[in-house]
């Protein structure tokens, strides 16, 4: 009750302009093609709400595709310089100290407000927090997470590919978000669930009013109508059980793998796929250690010393992707490694996205067939 407000829609643009003063405002914008992408917002009116899912997910603001981590200063005597002059790196901060060892930490300390995020993506970030901050804490993720405020919007009109409803990761969240908005036509129903979210709303409290009974009624109605609009109702529990019961033999996965193009599109667009590779890049005055997105679907992903390829068969790599999300995520974190955002269904050219495969497995279970 306490952390709920009403924001009139004609106040939204003013609120966003105020938020932009605290940090970079990121929102869903329509790209030159038709895709929706999360980018820095220049004109507030360009933000597209009630649009199809963005590609990729906003995970790129916590785990960028290209993420410089460290930089070693190179002196004339130390390391071999490249014979050809390289372009000057965009990541140099000349004034910053390289410290005693000559290594500069390229930590991204920018403050960001990401507006218009979907509930499924917020659920994914909640899981990413557990993965990146439990055990060894990933300092780059932690720093960005700390400096990012997420304002999510309840999906009143889910896409045909969405199936968060079967996984409890959307379209409306009870917890785990900073600020959640529900579109009630001429106003937003606003909820806050984190200290940062509460602080943000209270900092500009004159924009917000307390909800009245009619607001709660409308909010509930919108919620009911949204849940009724889902075209896909998929549970991942049945495929999980089929796999654990050993009812899916290699033949099944071979058929799936035959439809895999190994493009890695599902991995790049998935809000929960986070594998990265690390590489060193040499510039005239320094060497940078950079991490980049990587994918388990590529053959070289597990290449070991001496050229041994443990997952040389494509079937093993395809299966690994599903096993990780359907079996191993629940085993370790007690939740599926899928939030039902449906992006893999949009991207996959072979139509072996999570929802399709889960449905195929369920079909086998119902027909009592075994592959």
């Amino acid at each position: 009750m306490k952390n709920e407000w009403i924001l009139e829609k004609n106040h939204l643009s003013y609120w966003l302009r105020q938020l932009r003063k605290a940090g970079d405002l990121i929102g869903p914008l329509r790209d030159k093609g038709r895709d929706i992408v999360f980018r820095s917002v220049d004109q507030i009116h360009e933000v597209v709400l009630d649009s199809p899912a963005s590609l990729p997910s906003p995970k790129e603001f916590l785990l960028p595709q290209y993420d410089p981590m460290l930089r070693l200063k190179v002196t004339s005597d130390g390391v071999n310089l490249p014979s050809k002059p390289q372009p000057v790196s965009p990541n140099v901060h000349m004034k910053e100290s390289y410290g005693k060892t000559g290594v500069l930490d390229l930590m991204d300390k920018k403050k960001r407000v990401i507006f218009g995020v979907r509930s499924c993506d917020i659920s994914a970030i909640r899981l990413l927090d557990r993965f990146y901050l439990e055990g060894y804490r990933d300092p780059y993720y932690e720093q960005r997470r700390k400096n990012t405020l997420f304002i999510s919007i309840v999906c009143n009109n889910p896409d045909p590919t969405c199936f968060c409803i079967g996984l409890g990761t959307g379209p409306y969240l009870e917890k785990g978000f900073d600020i959640q908005l529900t579109d009630l036509g001429n106003r937003y129903f606003v909820q806050t669930a984190s200290a940062e979210g509460i602080k943000t709303v209270k900092g500009i409290s004159f924009l917000f009013s307390r909800p009245r009974k009619t607001d709660y009624d409308d909010q509930y109605e919108v919620f009911l109508s949204a849940t009724a609009r889902f075209q896909k109702r998929i549970s991942l529990e049945s495929p999980r059980r089929m796999i654990l019961a050993g009812r899916l033999k290699d033949d099944f996965w071979q058929k799936v793998a035959r439809r895999c193009f190994e493009c890695g599109g599902c991995v790049y667009d998935c809000p929960l796929c986070t594998c990265f590779t690390v590489t060193d890049r040499t510039y005239p005055d320094g060497i940078e250690r950079i991490r980049l997105w990587d994918t388990c679907l590529f053959k070289g992903f597990t290449r070991m010393a001496g050229g041994i390829l443990p997952n040389e068969k494509r079937m093993l790599r395809t299966r690994r992707w599903y096993y990780h999300k359907l079996i191993h995520y629940p085993e370790v974190l007690n939740e599926f490694g899928c939030v039902g955002c449906g992006r893999c269904a949009i991207t996959c050219p072979g139509k072996i996205d999570m929802a399709t495969i889960a449905t195929e497995i369920k079909g086998l279970a119902i027909n009592g067939e075994e592959e």
């Binding site: 981590m69 460290l70 070693l72 390391v79 071999n80 060892t101 000559g102 290594v103 930490d105 930590m107 993965f131 990146y132 055990g135 060894y136 804490r137 990933d138 300092p139 780059y140 986070t274 594998c275 990265f276 590779t277 690390v278 590489t279 060193d280 040499t282 060497i287 250690r289 991490r291 990587d294 388990c296 992903f301 597990t302 290449r303 070991m304 010393a305 001496g306 050229g307 041994i308 443990p310 096993y323 990780h324 079996i327 191993h328 085993e331 370790v332």
Partner: protein, 271 residues
């Protein structure tokens, strides 16, 4: 040990000495300014700026706290670069990572150490540990297989090990004119082990096929699953369970391993 709070920030080490060990393999002694605090079975992410980072297991026993010995085979781009370095050159380290060998399970028991090729590297500190504490352990037998006599690592040290009571059995895949020892697989040497395998403990490291064969056979001989220990290798980029490369089944070889018992890995394909 990491440099400050950032787990990806390596510390600057200096190569003190490089000792060649057979073909394509050298032992690098690296000294740092900070204590390293490692135990046998753990590994370091070793890097040369501009070339990259690789996981390398510790080859020396703890105690040498600001220095570590790393036995490195020339196998790819980064290790090739490391082999081009000289004493005095910098080598960057972060770690140690991984769980290390369980030493308590071999207390007062006979021990069989099975190694293949460069797989000797992580097992060398174990042998040193058993020599340091002979009263804690029963009879120690080392079975070591290499491709050719030239590929045998720590050959000089093995003489010392023999003198100090370790039974060393060597075998090669291909002999040369001078070779008078065994020829064939390391798993063909079980009958030379004069220990009761049901009561003994085994530590195994080597190529995947060798590990699988040795573990399976020892289990058939009646050795309990939890006392058949191996250490696994995988492609790694972070060493801290984040990059996903070494993920195998529900486990990350870097943080859940690299040391596993047969019980833990018999159901999953290794690596």
């Amino acid at each position: 040990m990491t440099n400050g709070k950032n787990i990806y920030l390596p510390v600057n080490g200096k190569i003190e000495e490089i000792i060649p060990q057979g073909r394509d393999v050298s032992l690098f002694r690296v000294r740092t300014q900070m204590p390293l605090n490692y135990v046998p079975g753990q590994f370091f992410m070793v890097s040369v700026w501009g070339a990259g980072e690789v996981p390398i297991s510790v080859t020396s026993l703890f105690g040498a706290d600001k220095a570590v010995e790393l036995c490195i085979r020339r196998a790819g781009f980064v290790t090739e670069t490391i082999h081009s370095l000289k004493a005095g050159d910098p080598l960057w380290l972060r770690g140690p990572y991984g769980n290390g060998f369980p030493l308590e399970i071999s207390k007062n028991r006979d021990v069989v150490v099975v190694a293949g090729g460069i797989g000797m590297a992580p097992l060398r500190p174990l042998i040193e540990w058993f020599m340091k504490k002979p009263e804690d352990v029963g009879r120690v037998t080392l079975l070591y297989g290499a491709k050719t006599p030239e590929d045998i690592v720590f050959r000089d040290e093995m003489e010392d090990w023999k003198e100090r009571g370790i039974k060393v059995l060597l075998t090669v895949d291909r002999a040369d004119e001078c070779w008078k020892g065994h020829v064939g697989l390391v798993t063909g040497l079980w009958q030379e082990v004069h220990s009761d395998l049901k009561k003994a403990t085994a530590y195994i490291c080597g190529p995947e096929v060798m590990i699988k064969a040795a573990m399976g056979e020892l289990f058939l001989f009646g050795m309990p699953e939890e006392r058949i220990i191996t250490t696994l290798e995988a492609h790694m980029k972070c060493g801290v369970g984040k990059c996903g490369h070494c993920y195998t089944g529900p486990r990350y070889i870097c943080t859940d391993g690299p040391v596993f018992s047969y019980r833990e890995i018999k159901d999953i394909s290794i690596p």
